[in-house]
C-alpha cells in the first residue's frame, strides 16, 4: 500500500492555461499518481488539458491528492505551484 497524501488550497486566481501548465509540468516530474479536485470534478494533475478542463476559479477550494513513493513531496510542490501560479494575472 503506497503512502498517500492530500492537501487543499483556496485559489488566489483562476486556474487559467498558464497556471494549469505550470501545475502539469511540476506534476510530471513525480512518480506518484496525482489528482486535482475542484468543484466536484477530478483531473489527473499531469494532464494539462484535464486540469484546464476543471475550470477552477478564484476563491474555489482545490484539493491535491497523491499516492506513491514521492506523494508527500508531490503534494507540497503542487500546492506551492498553485499558490504562486494563480497569483499571476492573465491567461
Amino acid at each position: 500500500m503506497p503512502a498517500s497524501f492530500e492537501q487543499a488550497i483556496t485559489l488566489a486566481g483562476d486556474l487559467h492555461a498558464r497556471p494549469a501548465g505550470a501545475l502539469a509540468v511540476a506534476a510530471g516530474r513525480f512518480a506518484a499518481a496525482i489528482e486535482v479536485t475542484a468543484g466536484g470534478h477530478t483531473a489527473d494533475a499531469k494532464s494539462v488539458l484535464g486540469v484546464m478542463g476543471l475550470g477552477a476559479t478564484s476563491g474555489q477550494h482545490v484539493t491535491v491528492s497523491a499516492a506513491g513513493p514521492d506523494a508527500q513531496e508531490a503534494v507540497a510542490a503542487l500546492i506551492a505551484v498553485l499558490s504562486e501560479a494563480t497569483k499571476v494575472a492573465g491567461p
Partner: protein
C-alpha cells in the same frame, strides 16, 4: 534536469497557425521546450513545405528526439515524404492528435521530462479531452 528534452515540430498549412500554436504551447509549458513552427509554403502561401519540415526537424532535435504534429491530413503526406529521406528517422515520431490541444499537451509532457513516446502519447490522448 540534465538530459535533453524532446523537441516539437508543428506542421500546418498556415504559417500563422503554426506560429500561434507554438507560442501558445510555449507560454503554457513555461518556455523550456524547443518548438519549431513549419507552416505554409516556401513562398508564403497556404500549404506545406518539405524544405520547412526538414529544417524544423533538424532545429528541434537536441538528442531526445522530435515529435511532429500535423494539422490536416495532407500535411501528413509531406512529413512522411521528408521522413523517407531523413538521416535519422528513428528519432522522429509523427503523432495523430488535435493540433492545438495536442501541441499544448505534448509540450507540457516534454517540459516535465517525458520521453519521445510519452510526448507523442500526450498529443494523441488530447483527442479525448473535453473542454466543456
Amino acid at each position: 534536469m540534465s538530459t535533453a528534452t524532446v523537441g516539437i515540430v508543428l506542421v500546418s498549412h498556415s504559417a500563422e497557425l503554426a506560429e500561434g500554436a507554438a507560442n501558445l504551447a510555449a507560454q503554457v509549458s513555461g518556455g523550456t521546450v524547443t518548438i519549431v513552427a513549419a507552416g505554409g509554403t516556401d513562398d508564403g502561401r497556404l500549404g506545406t513545405s518539405a524544405a520547412k519540415v526538414e529544417r524544423a526537424l533538424r532545429q528541434a532535435d537536441h538528442g531526445a528526439g522530435v515529435m511532429v504534429l500535423p494539422d490536416l491530413g495532407s500535411a501528413v503526406l509531406v512529413v512522411k515524404a521528408v521522413l523517407e529521406d531523413f538521416s535519422d528517422p528513428g528519432s522522429v515520431l509523427l503523432a495523430d492528435g488535435p493540433f492545438v490541444e495536442g501541441a499544448v499537451a505534448a509540450t507540457v509532457t516534454a517540459a516535465a521530462g517525458g520521453d519521445l513516446k510519452a510526448v507523442a502519447a500526450a498529443a494523441e490522448e488530447a483527442r479525448h479531452a473535453r473542454k466543456l
